[in-house]
Subunit: 336 residues, 2 copies
DNA sequence: TTGTAAGCGTTATCAA
DNA sequence: TTGATAACGCTTACAA
């Protein structure tokens, strides 16, 4: 059954020509005999010859593979993002080596190692929520493998990254809430380590101050994204003497858990207490209590842009220009 | 800036030993001098040596990469499945080359080609809903690359596959509906070409007959999974003279669209008309009208089993045993 | 205990 | 127009 894959050598042997001739014939090299070319192509077709990319890549020191590491593909945000990445890579005949960190720093290090060993030509990553150190990724740079971060990006300037300016988005959100007459605005933020959390907080502060609203730190809660943690955050907010009039959740998943918690506590969701969120995912459309407003973060576009930046870097490898590319998308407030 | 990745040769040169010694030292070959071993390892560490897997794989004629082709990772079903696959591959130091067919046959062919060129060691695939011909996948067999299908599997016997026995599941569902006193049971099935659709229909027929219920083909609708198509199916059912008492949707996404449609038509969902479904996805828990019952299809387990079968095949490559492995999971009816 | 050399499949360079 | 050869990085039989 094992009809082995023919190699150039075999074709050469059967045709009594040299391997290089076969190679050239298959590549339509200009100065190769027409007859030879045809003979070679014919036999190659019959034998079902397939060039061995492993060998080619090995020789070229390229793999035509880019690594993609995401916290969790189950989140619609990331599944959309990877589709954006895929849209770009397909065009360039690149493929995607995929792995999840499951928001676990150790796993992120391990899968990064694996991808490094696999010699991916480039890496696109959205950091795990636990990640603070970046040695495992700095290592790529040393090997001259470009790394592009997106969405969950490091704070510093010394990296290529794509993200949504959540500060701006949050300011806009508060602006809208204020215009609706709401002044006691709470936020359930993500883990402090996340850059995205810092941005949200900064936007929260700035937005409140712009409208001369007092910032009450009791209104600032935090979740590690587990349902329990979000439940606790909601509990805390609902046990305050002065109840909040609106809750901004870190994203739509937190939002859904927050609503669940609020309903248990008999809150009249979006009547007594307005829930708003980030991400603007499709699934909220099917839920009982979608957020009254959500900030669209364009995951597909973020993925696409990250991939585009990566290819830009790959094509300028020898380029001495060592500046970093940083793109910020302007999020859009979507009312529901 | 380009500190190039050191190779075995360089280490050998700097240490005035041969490349083979370095290779053996790094692999803890038993009969290599302790001192040499240490010297080599030390320098390798200092230089940040990383074995070039490309070269190793090239030599071993293996890639330690398996291809995974899914219709759409945005569906929770498939994102759970790939996590199951990943759980297995990680243990064996394999990585996943990932691509989506977007339920487009042509795309499926293209990405399959790409993976073949990349010489994946094996392939796991869930077919696009358009796929009827399998040449693009037969080609893998000829190259001795094992292929394992899961969930959306071909009908024939001549392949390795994992799926949930949806016939059994559907019979069980009808059994339960009957026990709830419902007799006019409609089904919104998927495209006829899908094996999964055939199984559901077979189960529907059998279930109805078991309970001596008349099978009325007007109660059997079909959707191509688009919201419009599902809307039309629901419309048709609701315009029947004798209205159905229950609707079985192909999966939870169809279910959600079906409910949306029914609500537009002023149906009292799950009161006048009971909605049940397949998949038992988490997201339905957040929706206003989760299915009254859903058939758990164990996507994570299916992915895991498919990967396990694949590794079994990879480890028995020379094995002459050419029988096909076919696994069926028994789905579970989950009441909500 | 270590070194030498061949080989994996392909392509590029040089020579014929 | 075609052929011979070397090279990519690594492993491994065989030789020393």
């Amino acid at each position: 059954m094992a009809k082995p894959i023919p190699t150039i050598k075999e074709i050469a042997r059967k045709l009594n020509v040299s391997a290089s001739t076969v190679s050239r014939a298959l590549h339509d090299h200009p100065r190769i005999g027409l007859k030879t070319k045809e003979r070679v192509k014919k036999l190659a077709g019959e034998l079902g010859y397939e060039p061995n990319s492993q060998a080619i890549f090995f020789k070229q020191q390229k793999t035509f593979v880019i690594g993609v590491i995401l916290p969790s593909i189950r989140e619609e945000f990331f599944s959309q993002a990877i589709s954006g990445i895929e849209a770009v890579t397909t065009q360039s005949d690149y493929t995607i080596l995929f792995a999840q960190s499951y928001d676990d720093y150790k796993r992120e290090v391990i899968v990064a190692e694996t991808m490094k060993r696999q010699r991916v030509d480039g890496l696109i990553i959205s950091l795990s929520k636990e990640t603070t150190k970046l040695q495992h990724l700095e290592a790529f740079k040393e090997m001259n493998i470009p790394v592009v971060y997106f969405d969950r990006v490091p704070a510093g300037d010394a990296c290529h990254k794509v993200s949504c300016n959540m500060k701006t988005g949050t300011v806009e959100m508060i602006h809208w809430l204020f215009s609706e007459g709401l002044k006691r605005i709470a936020i359930i933020n993500g883990p402090k380590a996340l850059f995205a959390s810092k941005e949200r907080l900064a936007g929260y502060m700035e937005g409140m101050q712009q409208h001369k609203l007092k910032v009450d730190m009791q209104l600032v809660e935090e979740t590690d994204f587990s349902e329990d943690s979000t439940y606790k955050a909601v509990s805390n907010l609902l046990s305050l003497k002065k109840l909040p009039q609106a809750i901004i959740s870190f994203n739509d998943y937190v939002h859904m858990d927050a609503v669940k918690a609020a309903l248990k506590k008999k809150v009249k969701v979006n009547r007594d207490l307005l829930f708003v969120s980030y991400s603007n995912l499709n699934i909220t459309g099917y839920t009982s209590y979608p957020p009254a407003a959500s900030i669209e973060q364009y995951p597909y576009e973020q993925g696409k842009m990250a991939a585009e930046i990566l290819f830009q870097l790959l094509n300028n490898k020898q380029n001495t220009d060592q500046s970093y590319i940083r793109q910020q998308l302007i999020p859009k407030l979507v009312l529901h």
